[in-house]
Symmetry: C2
Subunit: 690 residues, 2 copies
């Protein structure tokens, strides 16, 4: 099954040979130096995959037209976002250089800043690749469903997602590996932390801007469409519908990708930073996270190719099994790698604990967003919208418990068997197979879009059943991915926290001291505040959008008849404007660590990070699982139960879903970014707090 990659494998072998040769000449060699090679290999595989997807037929003219609208909408959004992001990155570049230079000299300052820009660029590039692939694969999936059947459609959709997955994994290896190559042996290894800060900046903008855009565009057109005019979510007569399709791509491809990319690089760099302070076998400890990531990349490619074998299975099962194949392969090889490197088997336990924790959190998330708790919400319907809300809130709150307990178990095992380093390595273990987990994530919006296109282009009952089936599988995986993203963010944030305490030379952070208590409380407030802030613009923008859609329905009665075309561009513009206007403020999240660190000291800052991580993780699970559960409760009724569409139960469900949407797509994911970003800022600026 790997034979189509003969050329790349050859490249890999030659490159390794060249490296080994160079290594014997002057650089003391280490397997970790192959990271860049593996990364480039991954990128070539990605390119091949893109070509393979792109050469598939893209359907009739109507389909191409819809697909082009979605593609253009996505690109408009990305380019506007990246433009603002560009100014932001430039600003931080200068600030970072000034601050770090003043503490650690000009060169370290410069390299940290450069490393910051490289991190931001890699993340943006991954998002760009992913979005291009997603908006190319969606229409091709719909066409494959039309003339190739379910297995073929699943294959294309998944391969489209895999482009994003492999881009993330490969660019992470190229970036982190490249910097490690340059600075791994020097005293200035700390410059590498700039890279994560770069990925963090992109993730912040992507998650907030994208999330807000997503929900203004999506939910509200949904609300107006479904609830008021009784027309379908994917009816092209609803002008918000293209914006809705764009938003699915933006939210679950570019945004989630930037989030996971940040965790992926963050966990590696935290492990490297902690490894750098080890007394014995320091270099092996520093190299291990990169080596595990290389193993993970190959394991992911194997997992992705497994879809060719499993494409006949039920989509959900196929996606899950691909993930298991990769995780198993990664752990199997890593076990021997750790043995060969001469590291203790405790290190492997930490790695495995993280890997299993990621999978377990996925299962729990699936239970709460698609299992028995959803039926509780469904049943609550009988007494109106308010009980749907209350029951959903209760489910959401309950759903925080087990995932957090799983995280504490991973922390316990990691620390017990490998100390501080163990926590960071657990995070690496959870994220090493990012190639496959991100592929599964990115599959979701492609399937969703394909379903939308097949409905809009009226592709016939049979095709629509196939795409609907793929979409349903995507909804489950989307919920699981959100859980996974939170879990990995939590472990990454804790790993970065540990790296920070070492970088700031903190002996202990004693919560019986009042400044530490104050730090914990300030930290706890921030997630609530950011959540409130990220929800509000949704409210504001949503109203503008609803009014626009209403205006269009009112002013052109032809719209309902389908004889005139809605002004989708106007809707996209409203959401873009209001999304981008509001994402400036969360910069506050960057200011708080600096403020607390300077005013109350490094210990209080550490306490703040802990408080923020705790509350941020809880709120993230709360909002993400609650949103998922409401969503599926609505889908259950939509499928014809309890009276189906249009019934009272359905209207009550729509309210729940509409409330849940900004929670799971905007505020919830913002928590992941928030907790990592604050830890990163603290870590990068650690020198000024000593």
């Amino acid at each position: 099954m790997l034979k189509e990659y003969k050329g790349e494998l050859l490249f890999l072998v030659i490159a390794m040979g060249a490296y080994l040769f160079m290594a014997t000449l002057n650089i003391s060699h280490n397997y970790s130096y192959f990271a860049v090679v593996f990364g480039i290999f991954g990128l070539i595989v990605t390119w091949k995959l893109y070509e393979k997807v792109d050469e598939q037929p893209d359907g009739n003219e109507k389909m191409r037209e819809i697909a082009e609208s979605i593609h253009d909408g996505a690109m408009i959004f990305l380019s506007r976002e990246y433009k603002i992001l560009g100014y932001f990155v430039a600003g931080v570049f200068i600030l970072l250089m000034i601050v770090i230079s003043s503490q650690k000299g000009f060169w370290i300052g410069l390299w940290t800043s450069v490393s910051y820009v490289v991190g931001a660029s890699c993340s943006m590039l991954a998002g760009y690749f992913g979005m291009n692939a997603a908006t190319s694969a969606n229409v091709r999936t719909a066409q494959a469903a039309c003339d190739g059947g379910k297995a073929k459609a699943l294959n294309i959709a998944f391969n489209g997602g895999a482009i994003m997955g492999l881009s993330v994994a490969s660019l992470g290896l190229v970036g982190v590996g490249g910097l490690f190559l340059l600075f791994g042996k020097s005293e200035s290894i700390s410059v590498i932390t700039g890279f994560v800060m770069g990925t963090s900046s992109v993730a912040l903008f992507a998650r907030l801007g994208g999330g807000i855009y997503t929900k203004i565009a999506g939910v509200e057109s949904d609300l107006v469409g479904k609830d008021e005019e009784e027309i379908s979510e994917d009816d092209p007569r609803n002008p918000g519908v293209i914006a809705d399709n764009v938003s699915d791509c933006v939210g679950d491809t570019a945004d989630l990708g930037a989030d996971i990319f940040e965790s992926y690089c963050g966990s590696m760099i935290a492990a490297i930073a902690i490894g750098a302070s080890m007394s014995a076998m320091k270099f092996e400890y520093m190299a291990l996270p990169l080596i595990v990531a290389m193993v993970g990349l190959i394991a992911s490619i194997i997992g992705i190719r497994t879809i060719d074998v499993l494409e006949g299975q039920d989509p959900s099962a196929a996606l899950r099994n691909c993930t298991f194949v990769s995780a198993g392969a990664m752990l199997f090889v890593s076990f021997f790698v750790i043995k060969v490197m001469g590291l203790s088997s405790g290190v492997f336990i930490a790695l495995a604990a993280g890997c299993f924790a990621g999978i377990a959190i996925g299962f729990v998330t699936e239970y709460y967003t698609a299992g028995a708790p959803v039926m509780k919400i469904v049943e609550a319907n009988s007494t109106g919208g308010a009980t749907v809300m209350i029951t959903g809130l209760a489910v959401a709150m309950e759903s925080c418990a087990i995932p957090v307990i799983i995280i504490t178990i991973a922390i316990y095992l990691g620390s017990e068997f490998a100390g501080l380093y163990g926590v960071a390595l657990a995070a690496v273990g959870m994220l090493a197979t990012v190639g496959i987990t991100m592929s599964v994530n990115a599959y979701g919006p492609i399937a969703d879009n394909a379903d939308g296109i097949s409905e809009m282009a009226r592709l016939g009952q049979e095709t629509r059943e196939i795409t609907a089936g793929l979409d349903a599988a995507g909804n489950t995986t989307a919920a699981i991915s959100k859980g996974f993203a939170i879990g990995s963010a939590a472990l990454t944030a804790l790993a970065l926290f540990s790296a920070f305490t070492q970088a700031a030379k903190i002996e202990s952070i004693d919560i019986t001291q009042h400044k530490v208590v104050i730090g914990v409380f300030i930290g706890g407030v921030i997630p609530f505040f950011v959540a409130a802030f990220t929800m509000t613009p949704v409210g504001k923008g949503a109203m503008d959008m609803v009014n626009e859609i209403r205006r269009q329905f009112k002013e052109s009665p032809d719209l309902m008849e389908g004889t005139s075309k809605p002004d989708s561009a106007k809707c996209i513009d409203i959401s873009t404007q209001s999304a981008l206007r509001e994402i400036i403020f969360p910069g506050v999240a960057i200011v708080m660590p600096i403020l607390v660190g300077l005013m109350l000291g490094a210990e209080a800052l550490g306490a703040m990070l802990m408080g923020a991580t705790l509350v941020g993780v809880l709120l993230a699970f709360f909002m993400s699982n609650g949103g998922g559960a409401w969503d599926n409760a609505k889908k259950y009724v939509e499928a014809g139960n309890l009276g189906g569409k249009g019934s009272d139960a359905y209207h009550a469900k729509v309210v729940g879903d509409t409330v849940g949407d900004p929670l799971k797509n905007t505020s919830g994911p913002a928590m992941n970014i928030l907790i990592k970003l604050m830890s990163i800022v603290a870590l990068v600026l650690a020198p000024i707090f000593i």
Copy 2:
């Protein structure tokens, strides 16, 4: 104005003289020993007040009949709750004796357990007094509004509340003062912690059972009544209406009272416990909280009497000004007391910081539940129920920030100027004038009931305007009280946490250690879990209730005509049953500290308390303020804005209010109890974790 208390003042003077005489004989005297005397004095004043209220006319037969139904309902609930509570207290008595005896010997074990029972009894007694007074004052307030005018009605309602307020303050002084008298000078001062645990048990049962009862009874009859049959909340044709009136008394009198009583005694005992470990001036430090509480009692009585002067003012302003008078008087006298006792003025700063923090939190709460943010929710109406929910959630989350910052400022000032002791004393400062703050709290349900009675008994437009005005003031004060209750619970929990760290001889709790991190995370999960748990039975019980009310409306069509009487007893029974069935489980909250303490050690337990306090306080503000804001948004529309009752905006509001009700009345308040209870369990059982 104090001349009517000539007899009591004489008693006070004679008792003080007798004490001084005894003191010169053998007991080394200290002003704190007067605590019991002051407490008894307070109880006598309370009794006088009760007589004064009780001798007011109680209206016509219809009014008496309604009042009797409410009184009986309240007493049925209290007696069932206290019965279950009795078994619980007996069980804990035995367990506590076994555990403490095994560690510290039989006598300490016995006295700790006795102290536990005394604490529980004092709290129950205060609740019983308060409920009796409230169900007596409600109908008399309505009658006074009818024939005496607004000022007179305000006076009676407030005096009815003052009975609860003074009962709390006086019984706290008698209980804590009595134990201090017995054990203050001995080595076994730790037995006094049993008292707080007793108050905690009552508060737990009261808040959970009462809260659940409240909302099943209230909200849902509300929902069915208002939303479905378009009849008023206080229409006697709605069979849930008596249960609703009972629930107001239960929720804001007995339950809030038990909560505040626990904070009041908890803050004093934490300060005493920390004082006991001081090296210099130990006895003065231990005595100060009691002396401040005595000053606070007298200041509260002065504040309560001030209503006679201010009764002509707008009710909200009058209530607020009475509170200011008491706080001012308490601080003024305490300043000199601290000087006379020879303690540093830093101690006074801590006390004042707590006092001001309590007032400031009240203002912030008022802003979020009655100010500009409510209008945001009102405006969100225009696009349906979902945006009301989203906007409300955003307001609720934002509203956590400032109160928590205020708490951190109080912690900072307290610790900076008086160390660990300062935090406990800040809590004492917030709670010393509990006599007046609790009076204002308890005024709310009396005014609400009076309004209900005047509507049910058809007392005429003019009377109903007066009672509606009193009720509106009560709604504002209720929101403020909830904020105050959370703030005081937070400070008390932190004070108890400090006392625990001393009792468990903990040197430091270092959050860079993994067991401590795990403790923090487990602690953070508990409030979410308990919140989920306390919401769910509301869902279940609410549905039974709704179905019952629907059944009654369906089976007796006369009900809508008002010609047949609804079966209120059946509704009361449903809510009582389901409330009491569910309150057994939160005992889990007692088990967790023991489990974590034994398995992960005392440091991890301390970390758990910190995590739970942080998350518990945030969730409490979130739920309480959110509920309050939705409530007032509904009231705003109800008052005739945006189309008034029956409009689309109104229906959207009702959804928000219905969701907010269990949040602000059940789950939110449960947080206060939870965080204090866990700290108390840890403190009492500290010996077994060393």
